[in-house]
């Protein structure tokens, strides 16, 4: 026969927790990308760059997006996020004249300054950033695949995990 009410409640709580975590992850990733966009664009003004800690925009944007995704049911598809990542990469290379070494220095410097971790090496910062982005993208892709397979098998259009 069907599941008991207590088991149903536990499942709902688990699904809700999963949904919250996924939303936080998506918000965090989007915040990182948007933070870098704003920091890079503002750094084009030498006057601004010389006076403000532009890297601070990255953690601020990250926290803001995470809170937004938590509070509102913002639904962004992975292809759109991937497009934003690629756009950021293009903008970066246009700004730094397609110098590949700049990619190993500038993002890490901005993150280091923003998080006030100036004693951490560029190498370590690059590893941390790459790990966050790589793992985050993988989890998002996996979530999208799960959602698509849920749609196909159940025929429903509602999200598999929903608060």
């Amino acid at each position: 026969m069907g599941q008991s009410p207590s088991k149903n409640n536990k499942k709902k709580t688990r699904d809700r927790s999963k949904a919250i975590l996924i939303n936080l992850l998506k918000g965090g990733l989007l915040g990182i990308v948007l933070g870098y966009f704003f920091a890079l664009l503002l750094s084009r003004s030498v006057w601004v760059e010389m006076r403000f800690n532009l890297g601070f925009i990255i953690p601020v944007c990250t926290m803001a997006c995470m809170l937004l995704f938590l509070w509102k049911r913002v639904w962004i598809r992975y292809p759109f996020f991937l497009f934003l990542e690629l756009l950021l990469l293009i903008v970066f290379f246009l700004i730094y004249r397609f110098e590949p070494e700049a990619l190993l220095v500038i993002p890490a410097c901005l993150l280091r300054e923003g998080c006030r971790l100036t004693s951490v090496s560029l190498y370590s910062t690059n590893i941390i950033l790459a790990a966050i982005l790589f793992a985050g993208n993988l989890v998002w892709i996996f979530h999208e695949v799960c959602w698509k397979s849920y749609q196909v098998t159940s025929g429903q259009k509602e999200r598999p995990f929903g608060p």
């Binding site: 750094s43 030498v46 006057w47 760059e49 010389m50 006076r51 800690n53 730094y96 110098e99 070494e101 700049a102 220095v105 500038i106 410097c109 300054e113 100036t118 090496s121 560029l122």
Partner: protein
């Protein structure tokens, strides 16, 4: 056995020779300043900031704990007051001609200084012109501006600025204030073809220019 011992002796001698040819640092993060009263020079410890290989800046050397500690090509471990007082103690004369009102029209005055940079593994002391690129190709003429009161008041940490500055202890007399940020007359970046990687400890030596 004899051949092995000979080979080991040759290897030891070779490694000693290569070590003695390389520069060894006379200052460290823990002891960041050294004064040579005979040579009339100051050597200060600083770390390379790789961000400014790709970005423009108007600061050559800033104290790492100053307000603008992340903005120079070299982050120093010596504060402006110590730097200023040591220059005075060595007999250098400060210009003290820069103010907030005249800064955009005035070139810094004071004794002309010779600034060189070296690090572990180099065989020479590089002139500031060699490690910092001026987009106009003008020479970098560092003068002892003074400005101790402004340096303490604004707490920017500036030791060597790349245009004439009313806050930096020393600054570049080739340009007036605003040349980098406001009027965009020049772009200064670290020379990545010469300088070592980000975070590398360097020795910035300041003495009288002959």
């Amino acid at each position: 056995m004899k051949k092995t011992v000979t080979l080991i002796i040759i290897m030891v001698l070779f490694s000693l020779a290569s070590v003695s040819g390389a520069a060894t640092l006379i200052v460290t993060k823990e002891n960041p300043i050294k004064v040579n009263e005979q040579e009339k020079s100051i050597s200060i410890a600083a770390a390379v900031n790789g961000k400014y290989f790709y970005e423009s800046t108007r600061h050559a050397v800033i104290f790492k704990d100053g307000k603008y500690g992340d903005k120079p090509i070299f982050k120093a471990f010596v504060d402006p007051k110590t730097f200023h007082d040591t220059l005075i103690k060595l007999g250098f004369k400060a210009g003290n001609n820069m103010t907030m009102e005249n800064m955009e029209k005035t070139f810094v005055q004071g004794d002309l200084l010779d600034v060189t940079v070296t690090w572990e593994g180099t065989k020479k002391e590089y002139q500031l012109d060699e490690v910092i690129k001026d987009s106009n190709g003008k020479p970098i003429l560092i003068r002892f501006g003074g400005n101790l009161q402004n340096a303490i008041q604004y707490n920017t940490g500036c030791l060597i600025c790349l245009d004439s500055c009313p806050v930096g202890i020393t600054s570049n007399a080739s340009y007036t204030m605003g040349a980098v940020e406001k009027r965009k007359e020049v772009v200064f970046t670290g020379n990545k073809e010469v300088l070592p990687p980000d975070g590398t400890l360097v020795v910035v030596k300041i003495k009288a220019k002959k």
